[in-house]
């Protein structure tokens, strides 16, 4: 799979899907998926940071001594997160407000540091960029899916469009417990699908 560029993307999207397989970055996954749009926004934000940090880490990998590897990666990631924060504040303020605290917290998302450490620091810049894209897409896909499930069951809407009247929705799916429960069943379904294929 090393030589296949498409394989790298597919790897992040399916084989090593950060949410459904690696179980990383659970905090934003659970917290920001109250609606499909929020899930999508959070996924895209994380993807931006992943791609940028993977690229830069891969470019700088031979300049960074091993012992200060982790702090350097953290600084690089934090820089991109802050950049993202300022850009979002300027151009998509409403999305920034609904994601709130979880934008700065991308810094401590284990997915981002994990990919920098396990992929970008060992591979060439272009592959690292693709890996960032793949993992980012996988994360976005998972978050959007979870957001769609919760929004539909909780308020009868999908991306803000009414599917069935709100009073038939089970509010609990938008609240905290619903996040855990929806993810539990999504995971169970994914497990089942993977065993069959």
């Amino acid at each position: 799979m090393k030589n296949n560029k498409f394989g790298i993307i597919l790897n992040g999207l399916i084989t090593e899907n950060p949410t459904f397989v690696l179980m990383l970055g659970m905090c934003p996954t659970l917290a920001t998926t109250t609606s499909a749009v929020n899930g999508l926004g959070m996924g895209a934000a994380t993807m931006f940071v992943l791609i940028c940090s993977n690229l830069v880490v891969s470019l700088l990998k031979s300049l960074i001594p091993d012992n200060v590897r982790i702090p350097s990666f953290i600084v690089i990631i934090a820089t991109f997160v802050t950049l993202l924060e300022m850009l979002m504040k300027a151009y998509v303020p409403s999305l920034y407000e609904s994601l709130g605290l979880f934008i700065p917290l991308i810094v401590v998302n284990c997915v981002v540091l994990g990919r920098a450490e396990s992929f970008a620091s060992k591979n060439n810049p272009f592959d690292s960029l693709l890996d960032g894209l793949g993992i980012g897409l996988g994360f976005t896909f998972a978050l959007t899916l979870l957001g769609m499930v919760r929004e539909l069951l909780g308020s009868g809407k999908l991306f803000g469009l009414t599917i069935f009247p709100e009073q038939y929705g089970a509010l609990v799916f938008i609240l905290a417990p619903g996040a855990f429960i929806s993810l539990a069943y999504l995971l169970a379904i994914m497990n089942k699908l993977r065993k069959q294929s």
């Binding site: 109250t34 609606s35 700088l60 031979s62 300049l63 960074i64 001594p65 091993d66 012992n67 200060v68 702090p71 350097s72 600084v75 690089i76 934090a78 820089t79 802050t82 950049l83 300022m86 850009l87 504040k89 300027a90 151009y91 303020p93 407000e97 709130g100 909780g154 308020s155 509010l171 938008i174 609240l175």
Partner: protein, 198 residues
Amino acid sequence: MKKLQSTLVNMVLVLGIIAIVAATLLAWVNQLTAEPIRLAEVAKQQTAIKEVTPAFDAVGKIISYTDETGQNINCYPVLNQNKCVGIAVESYSNAGFNGYIQVMVGFDMNGNIVNYSVLKQAETPGLGTKMVDWFKTDKAAQSILGKNPAKGLRVSKDGGEIDAITAATISSRAFLDAVNRAYTYYQKSLDAVQTAQN
């Protein structure tokens, strides 16, 4: 390229350079985005003012107050052909389920609520966040539009006339607290506007 060795000099140098580059980059972008961020905030405020007041052609001079806790409350009188037709008040409450909420409330010249717009809130999604349009919906006794908060608006649980958001009484109380505070400052600014006009 050969990997740099982990000597003290190398480590300090590399970390130092990365940190300096990062800080410079951030300072630069911070300056770059300062203006768009300010513009976005102003645009949001303007849209809110437009949304909550009767039709107008100009926004008059902003009247600012500082309340007993040191919070700023801005009142925006809106003018139509140089006559004040309403006032939008940027009010707040600290009693929300997750603390601070900020609301823009618009009044006409008789003190009736024209409309409102929630500017900032961190309430529970699916519960308290419904305040964004709950109190505008003309259903049962939910709506506060057209009401005059002279006697203070309260939720029905506290003996008032407004239906609270289902399962989010705390958020509803906080919202009405902000509306009532807005009314207090509406009255103050109304006096100021009228003395200025006469």
